[in-house]
């Protein structure tokens, strides 16, 4: 979801409409001020999210009461088991609560990587087809269909993964546990295909027509033009689509909470139950005592997630804009 504005049009229009502007009366000015103030809501929202998610997590840094149970550093440091081996465990409700976040981070990365490996090749290839081969009529069918896919509520995708896909995966791979990282990753792939597709397709279409014409005029075939000219020119945009897909996948909650099995195990296997950061917040926050160390830790996870996705999306957007500027198709 990006906001793009036709720059040339706005620049064109701005000075003229300003010079034409009437200095309206009192009501006119009030309305303008109101609109300008309301427009700040999105800035306020971003700041308030950071502030208030951070505020609830703050005792983790400042409260000595909380420090008896957990510290921020302790969330990343390994524990030692009886024989002195490093132990990474997320067991916040055990007798001695353990808040090591590695199992959750690895869980989130596992399902995200599965989703990307499945969704990126399909979505980028589909984008190539729609931008390079499909006629306008075909495009008018495919693009809305992909928007519809994006419009399916993630809880419905999660439900479908739980009831149907889990069975398929189990029959196909003979996995011992019905719900696992693979099932959750396949479900997530459904959710990120639309964003990877749209951003890639936008990028491919932003490649100027002259590039294609030049390649074809030099005697290359259509396929050579696509593979050696168009796709490389759009590569930053395609990369951005992957980055944005990653951001979407790592923050997705309902699909993974339903389909991943939710056991916080630290391993690289795909066929075992796994627990992501988002699913942990969704499942545990409803049951914790407000203001307890566990509550603070869950908000800290949320704050980390917010900052991570913010950075990911910021760079994703920047790559897209940078590419458009370079290709001279700022639109």
């Amino acid at each position: 979801m990006t906001t793009r504005v036709s720059t040339h049009e706005a620049i064109d229009r701005e000075p003229r409409s300003r010079s034409l502007r009437h200095t309206g009366g009192w009501g006119e000015r009030t309305a303008e001020v109101a609109i300008r103030v309301v427009a700040l809501v999105s800035i306020a929202a971003i700041l308030l999210i950071l502030l208030f998610v951070g505020k609830e997590a703050l005792p983790l840094l400042t409260s000595s009461e909380v420090h008896k149970e957990v510290t921020l550093g302790g969330m990343f440091a390994p524990l030692r088991d009886a024989s002195g081996d490093a132990l990474y465990a997320w067991q916040p409700v055990s007798e001695v609560p353990k808040y090591n976040v590695f199992p959750l981070i690895v869980g989130s990365l596992k399902v995200t990587v599965v989703a990307l490996v499945l969704a990126v090749p399909i979505s980028v290839a589909a984008a190539v087809f729609v931008s390079e081969y499909a006629g306008p009529r075909m495009r008018e069918v495919v693009k809305p269909a992909i928007e519809l896919l994006a419009g399916i509520p993630s809880v419905v995708v999660g439900f479908f993964a739980l009831i149907v896909m889990a069975t398929w995966v189990q029959t196909l791979f003979g996995t011992e546990h019905r719900l696992n990282a693979l099932v959750a990753g396949v479900g997530l792939a459904f959710a990120i295909c639309p964003i990877v597709f749209s951003v890639s397709e936008d990028a491919l279409r932003a490649v100027p027509r002259a590039y294609r014409e030049a390649a074809l005029a030099m005697g290359s075939t259509r396929a050579q033009t696509v593979v050696r000219v168009v796709v490389p020119a759009a590569a930053p945009g395609i990369a951005a689509s992957i980055v944005l897909g990653f951001g979407r996948a790592i923050g997705e909650t309902m699909i993974v909470v339903i389909a991943s099995g939710n056991a916080a195990l630290l391993d690289a296997s795909l066929d075992r139950s796994t627990r992501t950061i988002t699913a942990t917040i969704a499942q545990e926050l409803g049951e914790v005592v407000v203001g307890s160390p566990h509550y603070d830790v869950l908000f800290a996870l949320g704050a980390m997630l917010f900052i991570a996705t913010f950075v990911i999306n910021f760079f994703g957007e920047r790559i897209v804009h940078g590419m458009r500027r370079k290709l001279g198709t700022v639109s």
Binding site: M1, T2, T3, V5, T7, E9, A10, D12, R13, E14, S17, L20, H22, E32, I35, V38, A39, V41, I43, A45, I46, I49, F52, I122, V128, S131, E132, E140, P144, I146, L148, G151, I152, P153, V155, V156, V157, F159, F160, I163, V207, R209, R212, T221, A223, Q224, V226, V227, I250, G251, T253, M254, T278, L285, G302, L305, T309, I312, F314, S331
Partner: protein, 316 residues
């Protein structure tokens, strides 16, 4: 997320005289990828429809749940979802439209503030929905709600708890970017000449916006609203801790009541049911109702948009 249609693909086709084997292979391969994505859509839709129609009945959508959620209907969940999204719309649409008007009509392109607004809108769209849930709890309930309770109700717990109001405001912030993007696109499509004509006739800038620009952009605003409702109606993570309840004996009547919700109903039935086989028909039925609501809204939005695009193309 739409680009202005370029004639590149069409033009390239005309320029190609020879079709070679590699060309055909690439075309088939990429077409197959489109097929896979369409199949993904079809498979979910067909499965939910096939599983859900058996459950779907007049009683199912109009009756209360019975026998510990294993029988009866889901009317309270439908009602709760509708009220929730209605309140959300009342908050999100005016704010989103005002933001879009500011960005297109008032702010200059170089304005750092406008650029910041743009960055924030784009980033707001990328914030994970579960973080909105945390925010709603930390800000609306713990801070604003408790604050109201302290000041107005002498410390009684009236608004400092999960309820309809805080859930809908949380969702309003989540769906704000949807409204902004759609409205902005629609306003930018309004021809400059219309504004100039209006201003030349002596209308003020506000009159021009209210009587010329916004009516022209109404289709886009409507599209944005519908997409926001569709998105908000299907979200579960942001309302988990801000007001939704699994079962309530009464429908919500006040802003500080809790409510039931279709998506949450699916979630709880799917994850916390002791007897999945008994609840499976209900689960499918609920998922189908939710899918019908969001799908219909999306289809209407796509239809309005393609119509308004066609008509604006025709008038140019």
């Amino acid at each position: 997320m739409t680009a202005v249609a370029g004639p590149a693909a069409v033009g390239a086709r005309k320029l190609v005289g020879t079709t070679r084997r590699g060309d055909r292979a690439l075309a088939l391969l990429t077409a197959a990828a489109v097929g896979v994505i369409l199949a993904m859509l079809a498979i979910i839709v067909v499965d939910v429809i096939a599983g859900g129609t058996r459950t779907l009945s007049w009683e199912f959508v109009t009756a209360d749940p019975r026998d510990g959620m294993t029988a009866g209907g889901i009317f309270p969940a439908i009602f709760g979802t509708l009220v929730l999204t209605l309140l959300m719309t009342v908050a999100a649409v005016p704010a989103g439209v005002a933001t879009a008007i500011y960005l297109t009509e008032y702010a200059s392109m170089q304005s750092p503030l406008a650029r910041l607004v743009r960055v924030c809108v784009a980033n707001l769209a990328g914030v994970p929905s579960i973080v909105f849930g945390l925010f709603g709890l930390g800000f609306f309930i713990s801070t604003v709600g408790r604050g109201i309770d302290q000041v107005v109700y002498g410390g009684q717990g009236v608004y400092g708890k999960p309820c309809l109001l805080w859930s809908s405001l949380t969702l309003a912030i989540l769906t704000l970017p949807v409204v902004v993007v759609a409205t902005e696109e629609a306003i930018l499509a309004v021809p400059r000449e219309l504004r100039e004509a209006s201003l030349a006739l002596g209308a003020t800038r506000l009159q021009t916006i209210a009587r010329v620009v916004l009516p022209e952009a109404l289709g886009g605003i409507l599209t944005g609203t519908i997409l926001a409702v569709s998105r908000g109606g299907g979200e579960v993570a942001p309302i988990l801790f801000t007001g939704v309840a699994y079962y309530l004996p009464h429908l919500p009547t006040k802003l500080n009541d809790q409510f039931m919700n279709l998506g949450y109903h699916v979630y709880v039935l799917a994850t916390q049911s002791p007897d999945v086989d008994r609840t499976k028909p209900l689960l499918y039925g609920t998922a189908l109702v939710l899918l019908i609501l969001t799908f219909l809204l999306n289809l209407i939005a796509i239809w309005i948009r393609s119509r308004s695009r066609k008509s604006s193309r025709a008038s140019m």
